[in-house]
């Protein structure tokens, strides 16, 4: 019990809820999987219920989902042009998944799916895989023009192309690390400050008075985390749009 309070990492432990073993692979249904299912269920249920009335003058919930649609739609159109709108379902799903997963993680005792790098890297790999597959499908080998900047002297070209390739490969890494690091750091900070409140208030009257400071900090951090949850979903979606733009127009 006390170990829970002291250890700020404990909240990220993966617990097997239903052990499943198929062919030597551990495919257990974990708490992470449970919250992914919950994320999808909450996002789908919200969008379905809020748009089910489909009135001409939107109510509160309907205008929220319409705003989400407009937001992602404009983002995609700005970054990748009208042609990029064929990727709208993909980008919108990613945005809603990351956003709802981040927001669900803010509830006490809830598991934050996006605080595990394997989840965020999976999402980023999905994005970059789409970019590469679609780029080669649409432009063939012309997609490789992406790595050859114009106006570079020939003798520098091998070096520059190598650097550009590394830069391209580092995109999914930075995309996933950014989301994961933000969520992880935020939740650890929150846990540490809340831990201060508990351990200080155990020290008697002076401690209780002193614990007001970390409590105020925890409240402020919760507000900041709410902002970060939204901002990171936004950043993830914007960068996805920009990468898709490269697949649509390599070399412009």
């Amino acid at each position: 019990m006390t170990a829970d309070k002291v250890d700020p990492i404990h909240q990220f432990n993966i617990v097997k809820l239903i052990p499943i073993n198929i062919g030597g692979y551990d495919l257990s249904f974990t708490n992470s999987a449970l919250f992914m299912v919950a994320t999808v269920a909450v996002a789908s249920a919200f969008l379905y219920l809020s748009t089910s009335s489909r009135s001409l003058i939107p109510g509160r919930l309907q205008s929220v989902s319409e705003m989400a649609y407009e937001f992602v739609g404009n983002m995609l159109r700005d970054a990748a042009g009208t042609q990029g709108m064929k990727f709208f379902p993909f980008v919108f799903s990613l945005f809603m998944f990351v956003l709802v997963a981040n927001l669900l993680g803010l509830f006490p005792y809830f598991f934050t799916v996006t605080s595990h790098i394997i989840v965020t890297f999976g999402l980023a790999a999905l994005v970059i895989g789409t970019v590469v597959v679609y780029g080669f499908m649409k432009h063939g080998l012309g997609f490789l023009k992406l790595f050859v900047p114009h106006g570079v002297p020939v003798y520098l070209l091998p070096l520059v192309v190598l650097i550009e390739v590394i830069s391209f490969v580092s995109r999914p890494v930075s995309l996933s690390v950014r989301l994961f690091a933000n969520m992880l750091a935020g939740h650890i900070t929150l846990k540490v400050f809340s831990g201060f409140v508990v351990s200080l208030s155990a020290l008697g009257a002076v401690g209780v008075a002193g614990s007001v400071l970390p409590l105020a900090m925890a409240v402020a951090l919760t507000a900041l985390e709410l902002l970060v949850a939204f901002l990171q979903a936004y950043v993830f979606a914007v960068l996805t749009c920009m990468y898709l733009n490269d697949a649509l127009h390599p070399g412009h």
Binding site: M75, D78, A79, G81, Q83, K145, L146, F147, V148, P149, H150, G151, L159, L162, I163, E164, I166, S167, F168, V169, S170, R171, V173, S174, V177, R178, A181, N182, L224, L227, V228, L231, V235, V238, M242, D246, L248, H249, P250, G251, H252
Partner: protein, 169 residues
């Protein structure tokens, strides 16, 4: 090129072209060749040349203006995405700096990590340790700097050559 040269021979000095354009605009009918010729007739005539030369000159001026307008639109179209993005960043308000710092640092670290990873894998496969790691760590450093400059908007995007983006594409 030739008609332009002839127009120049006809009279109007190049410096007067600009002034003529402005005058045409203030007249309020600077739309087509017709408006241009009317302005040529009505406007104060500093050079004292004949009307025919003026009209010819106005046609050419309109062609030139049209071409320049198209160039301007094209160059604006290339800049537009960047500016919109900047506006969205500004919307984030007070945390923009915090977000920017995290973004830039993660871009740089990702470049170095990927470079080192590629070098390590090459060393493992080809047995060239430690040269692959050394070379690719340096290249990864370069890629990290490239990433940072690119995401700070100081550098052209992937494969961009400054040409306007085709709006239909």
């Amino acid at each position: 090129m030739a008609p332009k040269f002839r127009a120049w021979l006809d009279g109007g000095r190049p410096s007067n072209y600009v002034a003529g354009d402005f005058r045409k605009r203030t007249d309020g009918d600077g739309l087509t060749g017709q408006g241009g010729s009317m302005a040529g007739k009505n406007g104060p005539d500093g050079t004292g040349e004949t009307g025919r030369g003026k009209q010819h000159e106005a046609d050419i001026r309109d062609d030139d203006l049209e071409r320049r307008r198209r160039d301007l639109e094209a160059s604006l179209a290339t800049r537009r995405p960047d500016r919109l993005e900047g506006k969205d960043d500004a919307k984030a308000g007070s945390v923009a700096g915090y977000g920017q710092a995290l973004k830039l640092s993660s871009e740089f670290i990702a470049g170095v990590v990927v470079g080192a990873g590629v070098g390590w894998i090459i060393d493992r496969l080809a047995g060239t340790s430690p040269w692959g790691l050394i070379v690719f760590l340096l290249l990864g450093f370069g890629a990290g700097v490239l990433n940072v400059m690119r995401s700070a908007g100081l550098m052209a995007e992937f494969g961009q050559d400054g040409k306007p983006r085709d709006p239909k594409e």
